[in-house]
């Protein structure tokens, strides 16, 4: 077993990482965080154990880069919630489903992280918990709360 060419990693996971970035920092800054994530990943790639969960590995790097980014914007220690300017989606809806994405970005940090890392990145709740500094059970609850909030957005749309 050996590592596939990094190009395969970009092709297979580029879109997922972009969704993570959009959810965590908004569409406007997502490109910067995506770029920082993949450049860091490329640097560390030869040391990755073959057969690792690549998507989880990338999600971890993307999370760190998103936090760094938010911290830079805020010029203060790790915020409980990202500052408003980090939450503004780009003027043009780069992602088709603007309302739904706005709803994701508007979720409290823990819920947003739990939904993104569990549902979009496919990480088990134990790893989601580690990323968000909470327990597995808390991550599971946050994801459920987040999905419930999104569900009400969808319900409002269709009613």
């Amino acid at each position: 077993m050996s590592l596939p060419p990094f190009e395969v990693v970009v092709t297979e996971h580029g879109a997922t990482v972009l969704r993570i970035c959009r959810a965590m920092v908004g569409a406007h800054d997502a490109d910067d965080v995506w770029s920082e994530t993949f450049l860091a990943a490329l640097g560390a790639y030869p040391r990755l154990e073959p057969g690792s969960n690549v998507r989880g590995w990338l999600a971890t790097i993307a999370h760190r880069k998103a936090i760094d980014h938010i911290r830079k914007l805020n010029r203060s220690p790790l915020p409980v919630d990202p500052p408003p300017e980090a939450l503004v989606l780009g003027a043009e809806p780069e992602v088709g489903d603007e309302d739904l994405w706005n709803a994701v970005v508007a979720l409290p940090t823990k819920q947003r992280g739990a939904v993104v890392y569990h549902y979009l990145a496919g990480l088990p709740y134990a790893e989601v918990g580690q990323l968000l500094d909470s327990s597995e059970a808390a991550a599971r609850r946050a994801a459920a709360d987040g999905m419930r909030a999104l569900r009400s957005t969808v319900t409002r749309e269709t009613s």
Binding site: L3, P5, Y119
Partner: protein, 206 residues
Amino acid sequence: MSFERDILTRLGRNSDQSVQALERLHARLVEAALGEDLLDVAYRIVDTPVGPLLVAATPAGVVRVAFAVQGHEAVLDDLARRVSPRVLRAPSRLDPAARQLDEYFSGRRHRFDLPLDLQLAQGFRRLVLARLADLRYGSTASYAAVAAALDNPKAVRAVGTACATNPVPVVVPCHRVVRSDGSAGGYAGGVEAKRALLALETAHRR
């Protein structure tokens, strides 16, 4: 549950803008990787009369040329294993190689002027490749003649193996080595491709 599926489908969808954004981000990644010396293997596909050729380069030079019949995916996997897994599609990095291949296939170029990285050929095989560079455009030599020229007349089979495993075919002209009876002999790109290259060179020989 159907709400959940609907939400996830919608969040997971790639819009046209996303596809464009990913193209742009890929190009930006290549630039950044070059700037940080993290692009160990760059590659692109060049369309030619003998089918799409994969061309790959390290910072030292062209390290691999491969025909479609060799399986481009398998060749990239091999590069990741033997050279470095830091492999990215980076067309601009291979502009000179692509241009020279275009010129070669239109008959205007008789000799490649590209830095080569022959790390994938070792020992005797590498000596054979160095010798092949002396074979003139439009000429051929037998496997036996190449072996003799290397002061190793018994190594006919080894010369054949060196040609068959040439990591940079076309650029290092192993297609100019043929059987003693004048028939083409085997070729990594298939015997049809070998005949096509020899015919091209015969037609444009000065």
